[in-house]
C-alpha cells in the first residue's frame, strides 16, 4: 500500500494549488472532473512504437524495501525488454508525487517529470478533483483482458469511480493478527475482539488515527457498530455520520480504559504497534498488507506463533493503482509500463512472498494455464491464509470523504474524552 503519513507534509501546497485554480476560474474542487483529459485512442502498436526509447519515472512510496527491490530487479528489466527505461523515484508520502504533478500543472508544464504514480484512493480522489490524471486509457492496455471488468474493487477506488483513469496494480486486505501462544481462544468478530480487549485489559491497542492502519481499524469498527457494511452509505453522508459517529466513538471511548496504558496514549503508527507486539506488550497487531506479516514472521521480527485472526464478517479490502498525470512527459512509455505491471507474469512474480507478496488484481480464471499453475504453486504461509480465503467476505472501502470526519471525531471524542 502507498502509505499516508500521519501528518501529510505536503497537503499545504495541494491546498494552495486548489486555491489558485479556483481563483483562475477552474472548475470548483469537488465538482468531480467533468472535463478530464483523455488519452488519444490509437492502436497499441503505435503506443509501443512511441514508447520505444522513453524513460519513465515511476513515483512511489519508498519505505517498502521489498517493493523497491521488485521494481528495480524484476519490473525494470522487463520494461527494458520492451524498450522503456523504468526509473523509480522514491517518495516518503504519495501526496508528494501528487503535489509535484499539481504544481507542475499550475506552472503550465507539458513535459511533466512524473510519468506514473502508485496511488491510493485518497490521492487518486485529490488528483481527480484537479483533473490531474489522464483518463480513459486503461481500455487500451492489452493486459486488461485478464481483469474482471465487474470486480467492484477495481471499478471504484475509495468511492471514486475509476473510469479508466488508473490501472489496477495490487489488491490488499485489512487483517488483524494475534499471537496464538498468548491468545488461546481468539475472537471471531470485531465485537468479539472489543469484548476480548475488555476482558484482557492492557493487551490490545491500535495505531492512533490519522495513521493509515489506525484509520482503517476505525472504519472496520464503524462497520461493526453499524451492523454491517450495508448499513453505512459508501458516499460520505452527514446524517449518517451524525447517527453512526457517536455510536462508534462512544464504543471506542468506553474501550479506552481497557487498552494498553489505559488508552492514555496510542502507538503513533503501525511500526510502533508492531514494536509493542514484537515486545509482547500487546497480543494483537493489524495491517493492511498481510504479505508483510508473513515476511516479518519469516525474518523473526514477529513471533512465529503469529496467526491471522479469522473474522466472520470479513474485513476491508481495496486495490491500489498506477495513474498517469495528464502532463506526463513520457505518456506512451508510462502506458507500456502500466500494461507490463498488469501482465499475468508480472502479477505472479510480484505475488511470491519472497519477492513482494502483493495480491494479484488479475482474475485467475482469465489468466493463461501456466500462470494459474504458478499461482497455485506459490508457497502457502502458516501465518496468513491464501487471498481467496482472506478476501472471502471482503468489505468494500468507504468513500474517501469519510476518512477525515471519522479521524476528526476520533481525535476529539475518543482521545479528547480520555
Amino acid at each position: 500500500m502507498p502509505r499516508r503519513r500521519p501528518l501529510p507534509l505536503t497537503a499545504a501546497l495541494l491546498g494552495s494549488v486548489l486555491v489558485v485554480s479556483s481563483c483562475a476560474g477552474a472548475p470548483e474542487p469537488g465538482a468531480g472532473g467533468g472535463a478530464a483529459p483523455t488519452a488519444p485512442d490509437r492502436p497499441w502498436d503505435e503506443v509501443l512504437a512511441e514508447a520505444d526509447g522513453q524513460t519513465v519515472d515511476l513515483w512511489m512510496y519508498g519505505g517498502d524495501q521489498q517493493g523497491n527491490a521488485y521494481v528495480d530487479d524484476v519490473l525494470a528489466p522487463a520494461a527494458a525488454e520492451r524498450g522503456v527505461t523504468l526509473r523509480r523515484v522514491p517518495v516518503t508520502d504519495t501526496a508528494d508525487a501528487v503535489n509535484r504533478v499539481l504544481s507542475e500543472l499550475q506552472a503550465g508544464t507539458d513535459d511533466g517529470s512524473v510519468d506514473l504514480v502508485w496511488v491510493n484512493g485518497e490521492n487518486f480522489a485529490t488528483g481527480r478533483q484537479a483533473d490531474a490524471w489522464l483518463c480513459d486509457w486503461t481500455g487500451q492496455l492489452p493486459s486488461m483482458e485478464f481483469v474482471d471488468p465487474e470486480d467492484p474493487l477495481l471499478t471504484s477506488d475509495f468511492g471514486t469511480p475509476v473510469d479508466g483513469c488508473e490501472a489496477p496494480w495490487h489488491k490488499a486486505q485489512f487483517v488483524l493478527a494475534y499471537d496464538s501462544a498468548d491468545v488461546a481462544d481468539p475472537p471471531t468478530s470485531i465485537e468479539g475482539l472489543l469484548e476480548w480487549a475488555e476482558a484482557n485489559p492492557g493487551r490490545f491497542t491500535y495505531p492512533a488515527p490519522p495513521d493509515f492502519t489506525g484509520s482503517a481499524f476505525l472504519r472496520q469498527v464503524l462497520y461493526a457498530v453499524a451492523g454491517g457494511p450495508e448499513e453505512v452509505p459508501a458516499e460520505f453522508d452527514r446524517a449518517a455520520l451524525d447517527e453512526l459517529g457517536p455510536r462508534l466513538f462512544d464504543r471506542l471511548a468506553g474501550l479506552a480504559p481497557s487498552l494498553w496504558r489505559g488508552g492514555d496514549t496510542y502507538p503513533r503508527d503501525l511500526a510502533a504497534l508492531e514494536e509493542l507486539y514484537a515486545g509482547d506488550q500487546v497480543d494483537l497487531t493489524m495491517t493492511y498488507g498481510p504479505a508483510t506479516l508473513a515476511q516479518q514472521v519469516a525474518s523473526g521480527a514477529l513471533p512465529a506463533s503469529t496467526r491471522v485472526l479469522p473474522l466472520e464478517e470479513g474485513t476491508l479490502g481495496n486495490a491500489s493503482f498506477l495513474a498517469v498525470p495528464v502532463n506526463a512527459g513520457d505518456q506512451p512509455g508510462a502506458l507500456v509500463v502500466a500494461d507490463l505491471a498488469l501482465s499475468p507474469e508480472q502479477q505472479l512474480a510480484k505475488a511470491d512472498p519472497a519477492t513482494w507478496g502483493q495480491y494479484p488484481v488479475v482474475d485467475l480464471d482469465r489468466v493463461p494455464e501456466d500462470v494459474r499453475a504458478g499461482f497455485a504453486a506459490l508457497p502457502a504461509s502458516p501465518v496468513v491464509p491464501p487471498f481467496e480465503e482472506l478476501s472471502g467476505g471482503a468489505d468494500p472501502e468507504l468513500g474517501a470523504g469519510w476518512v477525515t470526519p471519522l479521524e476528526d471525531g476520533w481525535r476529539s471524542d475518543v482521545l479528547g474524552a480520555g
Partner: protein, 264 residues
C-alpha cells in the same frame, strides 16, 4: 579578595554547576549515541551494535542536498537581514529618531507575531499574485530575523565612537574609504554576531518552510520532521539531527575565537 565566599558555600557550588551542565547537555546525549548505533535493542543502556547505518541512511534520504538548501537559506536570510539590521541599529543608536518608541516597537513586532500566522496570510497573497513560494519564504524569514540583527547592532553602535569616522574624514578619507577602512572593521564583531543569528533563523525554520514549500523544499529540519514523525528511524534521525547541529556549532566556536582575537 572581596568576593571570597565562605568555604562551605564554595563547596556547594560544584555539584550545582554539574547539575546545570547536565541539564543543558543531557538532551544531546541520545543523539550522539544513536548516531553511532547500528542496533540498540531496548533494555541496553548503550548501543548493542556500533556503526554508521544512520549516516548511510541519511545520505540515502538526501541529507547532503538538504544540507545545501539549509545553508543557502540561512545565508540568504543573513545577507538580507544583516545590512538592513545594521543600518537600522545605527540609526537607533546614533541618530535622533522621530517617534522612537513606535519605531522600536515596530522593529520588534516580528518577535510577537507567530511565524505560522504570518506565512499563512502571506502565502495566500503570493499565490494570487503568482509570486513563487520561495520569495514568500525568504521574506517571512528575513523579517523574523530583523529584530535580532537590529537590536544586536543597536547595542553595538551604542558603544561606538563616531568621532573616529569624523577624524578619518578630516584626514581626507572619502565616504567609501571611511566605510571600508574604519566603519566596517570596527563593527565587524557585532556584524558577525548579527549575521550568525539571522543565519540561524533561516537554518532552524520548520513551519514557514512547511507552509510555503508544502514539503517540496526539503531543508534539514524538514528531513528531521519527516523522519522523526515515524517509528523506527532513530539512527537516521540522530544522524540528520547532528548534521543540523554541528555546522552552526562550529560557526559559533569560530565566531567566538575570532571575537577573542579581535578583542586582543
Amino acid at each position: 579578595m572581596t568576593r571570597a565566599a565562605p568555604l562551605r558555600r564554595r563547596a556547594g557550588v560544584a555539584p550545582r554547576v554539574a547539575l546545570a551542565l547536565v541539564w543543558l547537555a543531557l538532551p544531546l546525549v541520545p543523539l550522539v549515541l544513536w548516531a553511532a548505533a547500528d542496533r540498540w535493542s531496548f533494555p541496553a543502556l548503550l548501543p548493542t551494535a556500533w556503526g554508521l547505518t544512520g549516516w548511510r541512511q541519511a545520505a540515502d534520504q538526501g541529507a547532503a542536498a538538504a544540507l545545501g538548501r539549509s545553508v543557502l537559506l540561512g545565508l540568504v536570510v543573513a545577507a538580507l537581514a544583516t545590512p538592513a539590521g545594521a543600518m537600522a541599529g545605527r540609526a537607533l543608536a546614533l541618530h535622533r529618531v522621530p517617534a522612537r518608541r513606535l519605531v522600536e516597537g515596530l522593529l520588534l513586532a516580528p518577535v510577537a507575531v507567530p511565524p505560522f500566522a504570518v506565512v499563512m496570510g502571506l502565502t495566500t497573497l503570493t499565490l494570487r499574485a503568482g509570486i513563487p513560494g520561495t520569495v514568500a519564504l525568504v521574506c517571512v524569514l528575513t523579517v523574523s530575523a530583523l529584530p535580532y540583527t537590529v537590536f544586536v547592532m543597536r547595542s553595538a553602535y551604542t558603544g561606538y565612537d563616531v568621532g573616529v569616522e569624523e577624524e578619518a574624514r578630516t584626514l581626507g578619507a572619502g565616504p567609501r574609504a571611511v566605510l571600508l577602512r574604519v566603519h566596517l572593521p570596527l563593527a565587524a564583531p557585532a556584524l558577525a554576531t548579527a549575521a550568525f543569528l539571522a543565519f540561524l533563523v533561516g537554518w532552524s525554520d520548520y513551519v514557514v518552510t512547511l507552509v510555503v514549500g508544502g514539503g517540496q523544499l526539503v531543508t534539514l529540519p524538514m528531513l528531521v520532521g519527516a523522519l522523526s514523525s515515524a517509528t523506527g528511524n532513530d539512527a537516521v534521525v540522530a544522524a540528520v539531527s547532528l548534521t543540523a547541529v554541528l555546522p552552526p556549532l562550529l560557526l559559533l566556536v569560530a565566531t567566538a575565537l575570532l571575537a577573542r582575537r579581535g578583542a586582543r
